[in-house]
Amino acid sequence: MEPILYKVFGAVVTIILAFVVGMTYMGLSRKITARVQNRVGPPVYQNFLDALKLISKKTAIHHGIMQMMGPAFFMVTSIGSLMFIPVLNDGRFFSNLNFEGDLVFLLYLMVFGPLGMALGAGQTGNPNSAIGVTRGLSQMVGFEIPWVMALVALMIQYDTTSIVGLMEAQSASGTWLVFSSPFAFIAAVLAMLGMFRYSPFDIVGAPTELASGPVAENGGKYLFTMMSSNSIFAFVKLTLYVDLFLGGADNLIELLIKTFAIYLIPMLYGLVSPRYRTEQAVRYFWGWPLFFGFLAIMYAVVF
């Protein structure tokens, strides 16, 4: 088979996997939320129906070319970062671009999505969108700091910046990074609460006060693109956490179990939390998460 065609094929398969898993997890989260609230809840495949419905909307509007570019930028972030993350250990799944980017690159790629979304939202001229964007960007500045600290701690400890390198370090030492650098894991998990935007950090969408914020003007195909790139992005983040802290996965079943375990943390935390105000959310990340980030770096320097 032609190598370039093979690569494209691998990328497509990875994207489909990420899409399906991400969508299913979101459906599961709705189901679990419902069960926690003593409801029956929608079926697990509900999000697929939503996506199908959104894409089969007959009409759409646009406020300008930027509104179309915004979701496309977000998709670049989701799929782009998916390409850099090893899905399974030892390159057992398609390796895509795994060996060609490192953690710093990934960090920058991952913040591009919100900025692209923000541009798309800005073009619509809806004041709610702009307010949502300012909230989202502020919150991003908040949680990026502990998250970067955790990653820097890992980089120091294992003398590599590449994700594959960190995974190899884990399989070489036979222990997961969650045990060998626990503070980094704590900082990263606390940062993850903000990254997933569940309560109490759902200040961006905030349906009741901002009319869903940045996506207020987007329905149909735009919402479909955002929804699918959101679910791919969720898969990316979860897989990244598993790769970095839980020793990766040897097969898809293991990957699903581990990622879902990680996914439960922000979801269950969100179920019992009300919403923060923006400055509270920002300051939250500069409290204990920052402290654990410092601990992680000190731990990495000392050991």
Binding site: L49, K57, A216
Partner: protein, 181 residues
């Protein structure tokens, strides 16, 4: 072999299946009926098991739920919201007020028959209709979508002049963008 018409039919069936199981509702809480929506959506009656969930803005919504009486002042906003929704879109009239005025039948500032101003797909009668009735209304809408009979948007587009005439009759200061579909 499959011809175009048949394949279109299959696509329609699939799309309609998705549409009927995923209804994003914009509950326009105009009147007293708005109080029935929270119990419908939350734990007691749990409308989400039918794929019904709230939408924050008209751009994302499929169903416009008009809960109760409409004053002429509110009617203008409701029309605006309806026109901002994207095809295919449905209207559910909730409560007796939307059918014939209900207890406001002789009020000077409410409209009596919603259907004159917006194409209503399903009426839910009662004053107030209980959440069970609301869910029954949604199920009725779902079966209409399945049969492909919920064509309110098409009706509105085809008879736009007639609707506009009715709307302008009750709304004196008509400053609205054109409905360009």
């Amino acid at each position: 072999m499959m011809n175009d018409k048949n394949s279109q039919k299959i696509v329609d069936i699939i799309q309609n299946y998705a549409r009927l199981h995923s209804l994003f509702v914009l509950a326009y809480g105009t009147g007293c009926g708005a109080i029935e929506i929270p119990p419908t959506m939350t734990s007691r009656y749990d409308a989400e098991r039918f794929g019904i969930r709230g939408a924050a803005t008209p751009r994302q919504a499929d169903v416009l739920l008009i809960t109760g009486y409409l004053t002429t002042k509110t009617l203008k906003r409701v029309i605006r919201v309806y026109e901002q929704m994207q095809d295919p879109k449905y209207v559910i009239g909730f409560g007796s007020c939307t059918i014939n005025g209900g207890m406001y039948w002789d009020s000077y500032n409410t409209i009596k028959v919603l259907d004159k101003y917006l194409p209503v797909d399903v009426y839910i009668n009662g004053c107030m209709p209980r959440p069970e009735a609301v869910i029954a209304g949604f199920v009725k809408l779902q079966s209409l979508i399945r049969e492909g009979k919920a064509e309110g948007a098409k009706l509105y587009k085809d008879n736009l002049e007639q609707y506009r005439e009715n709307q302008k009759k009750v709304i004196p200061n008509w400053v609205m963008p054109e409905y360009n579909w």
